[in-house]
């Protein structure tokens, strides 16, 4: 004790930075803080909630469970990206023609989508969205034609719209699969594989061998999707959007609800930091005060606090939290309050009290009492500043524990129901069998963020520990 550093935050920070671990910790922390600020500014809270809770409708143009785009760097194959074609927007890849049928109050709308498909893998999905303002029984009838790069033309389906904003899930349509299978098995008389899909037949090089094995190579080139709609009523509009979903998307990929993961990864950062820091700070300081009171007054106050602590330390922490989360509607603040309440009477009280017992016998405390310092003043201005330096590394090192706890609760489905957090991504990944399906990015991304956070605080904690406990210093 009595070192030159006590009470001088600046020099502690400077010294912390002089250690490699300290500098690394501070570096990562600055990065995470910048990420948090970016997240909060770029995606305001309400917007983030809306985007995360908006379910599928919001992200219809995104592929499901697509890996992040940077996966491409590690793949020799060219992985398909999503292609969106919309007749309502002008584009060289879209053409639309309307032919009125004189005297019949009918018209023919022909929409042609052209796109180049030169990826090495099949797309993940193909959907067609229709937009028509028909009313009553006058639903447009659409003939869907598919033209392969080899100029082979296939009539996939004749489809009557069931609603003004109907959609046709081409890739999972049984009738289209049947149509295509029939078409090709007439052409190639082989036993067709059970593993045929619409996408394989639409995008693959079809021949007898591939039909039999179910393994298709992608036919690269320009495809055309031609929609010929018979529209009743000259005033009735007809438009369509075709989406060829890829297998990679965005900087962080998407989940089972097509949501881009970066929303939750970004927003998880400020939540994790705020949760961990608040929990750790409040717990440590409340513990500090309680432990000091316990050590300073002794007697029955001390006994009471110590017995409460001992009982609380024996109680299982997680089951309690789970119970509370199950019985009450909790948001992140309630969880935070419960976590703090359960952590206050923890081991920190024991170690701090031991320190206080030692410090309260120091002559300077007696001197303070001799010139009339009150108990309150002695605790706050004479004892706490003395025990603060050894307590701070513990405070910093405790942060990841609380971050993990929050993630663990979210993983168990007991977290805040609205906020997008890292734990929630893990929960989704788990319930959707991410690892079983080989969707490693889904688990590894939030895990990496969690690890980064704990590295930052652990490194900083080590450095601070070395400063306040000079015995830990390397030679």
């Amino acid at each position: 004790m009595g070192s030159a550093r006590e009470g001088k935050v600046k020099s502690i920070v400077r010294e912390a930075l002089s250690y490699k671990s300290g500098a690394a910790g501070v570096g990562i922390l600055i990065f995470l803080a910048a990420l948090s600020i970016y997240a909060v500014i770029a995606i305001p809270y309400d917007e983030a909630i809306r985007m995360w809770r908006g379910q599928e409708a919001m992200w219809l143009d995104n592929p499901r469970t697509a890996a992040p785009e940077w996966i491409q760097f590690f793949s020799v194959k060219k992985l398909p990206k999503t292609i969106v074609l919309d007749s309502r927007t002008r584009s060289p890849y879209v053409s639309k023609a309307e032919v009125e049928m004189p005297g019949l109050n009918m018209k023919k709308v022909i929409i042609e989508f052209r796109f180049v498909y030169d990826f090495d893998e099949l797309p993940s999905e193909l959907n067609i969205f229709f937009f028509s303002n028909f009313s009553g029984a006058g639903a447009p009838l659409v003939t869907i034609n598919w033209v392969k790069p080899s100029a082979e033309t296939i009539t996939m389906a004749k489809y009557g719209l069931r609603a003004p904003d109907d959609r046709l899930y081409v890739s999972i349509s049984d009738s289209i699969l049947r149509t295509l299978t029939n078409l090709y098995s007439e052409k190639y008389p082989v036993n067709t594989s059970e593993r045929l899909t619409v996408l394989k037949l639409l995008f693959g090089k079809v021949d007898g061998a591939s039909l039999e094995s179910g393994e298709f190579e992608v036919e690269k080139g320009t495809y055309r999707l031609i929609l010929e709609a018979l529209v009743f009523g000259v005033q009735t509009s007809f438009d369509a959007k075709a989406v060829v979903y890829g297998t990679i998307h965005g900087p962080a990929g998407t989940d089972h609800l097509r949501r881009p993961l970066e929303i939750a990864l970004l927003w998880g950062t400020p939540i994790a930091l705020a949760f961990g820091l608040t929990a750790s700070l409040l717990t440590t300081f409340i513990q500090l005060v309680i432990a000091t009171v316990s050590g300073w007054y002794g007697g029955w106050v001390d006994s009471l606090i110590q017995r409460i602590t001992e009982v609380n330390m024996v109680l299982p922490f997680l089951p309690f939290l789970i119970m509370i989360s199950v019985f009450y509607k909790v948001d992140i603040w309630v969880i935070l309050a419960v976590v703090i309440a359960l952590s206050i009477f923890g081991g920190g009280i024991k170690s701090t009290r031991a320190l206080v017992m030692q410090i309260k016998e120091y002559p300077y405390i007696e001197a303070a009492r001799a010139y009339g310092a009150s108990d309150f003043r002695v605790i706050l201005l004479y004892i706490i500043p003395k025990i603060l330096p050894p307590v701070i590394p513990g405070l910093v090192s405790a942060v990841p524990g609380y971050v993990f706890l929050e993630a663990a609760l979210a993983f168990l489905g007991l977290g805040d129901p609205f906020l997008p957090t890292w734990g929630k991504i893990l929960n989704d990944a788990n319930t959707n069998g991410a690892l079983y399906r080989g969707l490693y990015y889904w688990v590894l991304e939030p895990a990496a963020m969690l690890m980064l956070t704990s590295f930052a605080f652990a490194f900083l904690g080590f450095a601070l520990d070395k400063i306040v406990n000079p015995r830990l210093r390397e030679m």
């Binding site: 009595g2 030159a4 002559p363 007696e366 001197a367 303070a368 001799a370 010139y371 310092a373």
Partner: protein, 326 residues
């Protein structure tokens, strides 16, 4: 003895030692039935060996310990059971200088803050005035130039300098009574006399009553008017300094004085009579006179009954059966 600043009547401080759940607690009689008076502007040396209860007596008088029994009268007021604001008044009127100057300073405060603390607690002056008072106090203990010391932390000062700060802190509230608990025993021999002289000077100049706790009889004659000898929780002899040194009455005082080394070559031929044995345990003190197991003049009565306090000469009191009027 005329009415003094401080009057202590039959003061006792017993500590209770708990030994566990079932074992009965023990009582340690650190200070037992002590009475004395202290006059304005006079210094008393409280002398005794380690464990004799002299520090406990000093701290109990300052109300750092709750007295077990007896009364403390300060300026005519009973301060034994003061609480709250009134106790704060007593704290303002008293001061303490401790043995260990390093431990006596909060290491995280600057010297100026350390000296300002008592002023803040007693709500004295504005920040400006307090700063002036701090500088003045540093000047008084000759830590000059003041600016060089005011903003340093305790670890940057030497033991002697820190003890000057401690003296400044004890005196900054303008007390009329100060206890100095072995103020120089942890200091370098070279600065001891300096510190003692400074204390004596300030004490005389300001008319402060002083209790100087020490085990070193040799320095007491220069720095105090009175010497009180303490043995095993009892005050065994109280006398004016010169008188006590010249004519020690209590057998323990005589032994203590005889033990002071005197740099005289003749001394090696002289036989020094040292009372055999150790000071008694204060947990279970011997009945009667506590010195009787070691006393060369022990009588039957010493073993069973506590000796009375006898005034052998005006102002010279001895707690011994040898001087009791039969």
């Amino acid at each position: 003895m005329e009415e003094g600043v401080l009057r202590v009547e039959n003061l006792s401080k017993w500590f209770t030692i708990r030994r566990g759940l079932l074992a009965p607690p023990l009582t340690l009689r650190a200070v037992d039935n002590v009475s004395f008076e202290l006059r304005r502007g006079e210094a008393v040396s409280l002398v005794g060996e380690s464990g004799s209860g002299k520090t406990t007596l000093g701290k109990t008088v300052l109300r750092l310990y709750e007295p077990t029994s007896g009364r403390i009268l300060f300026k005519g007021r009973d301060v034994t059971n003061l609480k709250g604001k009134e106790l704060l008044w007593y704290k303002r009127e008293t001061g303490l200088v401790q043995q260990d100057p390093y431990g006596a300073m909060p290491s995280f405060m600057t010297i100026s803050r350390i000296l300002e603390e008592p002023l803040i607690i007693h709500k004295i002056g504005t920040a400006e005035e307090r700063k002036e008072a701090v500088f003045k106090a540093l000047e008084d203990v000759r830590l000059t130039p003041v600016e060089d010391f005011a903003f340093k932390y305790p670890h940057m000062l030497s033991g002697g300098q820190l003890q000057r700060v401690a003296i400044a802190r004890a005196l900054i509230l303008g007390p009329s009574f100060v206890v100095a608990d072995e103020p120089v025993s942890m200091l370098d021999a070279s600065v001891r006399i300096e510190i003692l002289t400074l204390m004596r000077e300030l004490q005389e100049k300001r008319g402060i009553s002083f209790i100087y706790i020490t085990h070193d009889l040799s320095t007491t004659r220069y720095f105090s008017e009175w010497i009180f000898i303490m043995y095993a929780g009892h005050l065994v002899e109280k006398a004016p300094t010169k008188e006590l040194i010249r004519e020690p009455q209590h057998p323990y005082t005589q032994a203590l004085l005889a033990a002071i080394p005197d740099p005289d070559p003749e001394n090696r031929k002289r036989y020094r009579e040292v009372p055999p044995g150790e000071p008694p345990s204060l947990i279970n003190p011997p009945p009667g006179c506590r010195f009787h197991p070691r006393c060369p003049y022990v009588m039957d009565v010493c073993r069973s009954e506590e000796p009375p306090v006898v005034e052998v000469k005006p102002g010279h009191y001895v707690k011994c059966w040898l001087y009791a009027k039969k």
